[in-house]
Symmetry: C2
Subunit: 127 residues, 2 copies
Amino acid sequence: MSKTTIRLTRFELEVMEELWGIGQGSVREVLEALPTRRRPAYTTVQTIVRRLEEKGAVEQVRKIGNAHIYRPRVSRKAAYRRLVDDFLDLFGGSARPLVAHLAESGKLSLEDLRQAEELLVGEPESA
Amino acid sequence: MSKTTIRLTRFELEVMEELWGIGQGSVREVLEALPTRRRPAYTTVQTIVRRLEEKGAVEQVRKIGNAHIYRPRVSRKAAYRRLVDDFLDLFGGSARPLVAHLAESGKLSLEDLRQAEELLVGEPESA
DNA sequence: GTGGCCCTACGACAGCCGTGGTAGCTTTTT
DNA sequence: AAAAAGCTACCACGGCTGTCGTAGGGCCAC
């Protein structure tokens, strides 16, 4: 289990998602990249970015005017790994009951499973 | 998405897990059913059970001595459905990226997928 | 150079959650 | 019946998260 990486909250993840998307950016750029529906106040994003920096999830790379430009320090993959690992703890740490639940509740199609299978075969690295 | 059911926190889920296991029981029984490692104070369990009752996740069915006996009012399945649904929101609401991630990070075996496939075929109800 | 705008730094706050203490009533045990 | 043990009801509290406001400094256009 990769409990090494930083744990991100839901909104921190959304902010990171934008940063991963654009590579790097200012608070304002992140703000404007957020879907209109859930676009909070400027300072809210700012706070999140600050917390991300405290956690080491992002870093300042330079300034444009007096605005900081931030860049992710953790990969999307690592972040999701941590997220999923934490979630799996609720299922005893194993993915199987989770996938079983997904299948039972009709949230998975055969195609989904087949795609997963391909990924598995193509990348037989063990976790 | 089943956002109808009650949302349970991690520890609430653990308590429910014990209640589902024994069918019904007192605070003390739940406490003692919890794995020794993460066994908190009696009153902690009591607080959680009270909150569960406020939420409608459990109900008092009778008293033994002066102790209440509680019974789940939501099924394990419904509870996990809600849990998973909320989690899936982080993946855009779809299970596919999650399963893909699991496959890529080696958390799934082919056997896991095959089992899921069987469940899928056996229960072709759509969500 | 100065007014206006933008950015930063910091503080605040409420809700949720895990955690447990206390007081007082009940049941059981001497 | 008096003491001991158990249970309930309620309160408290600190950490985390989402949310934002304010104060003050910097930059740009005029």
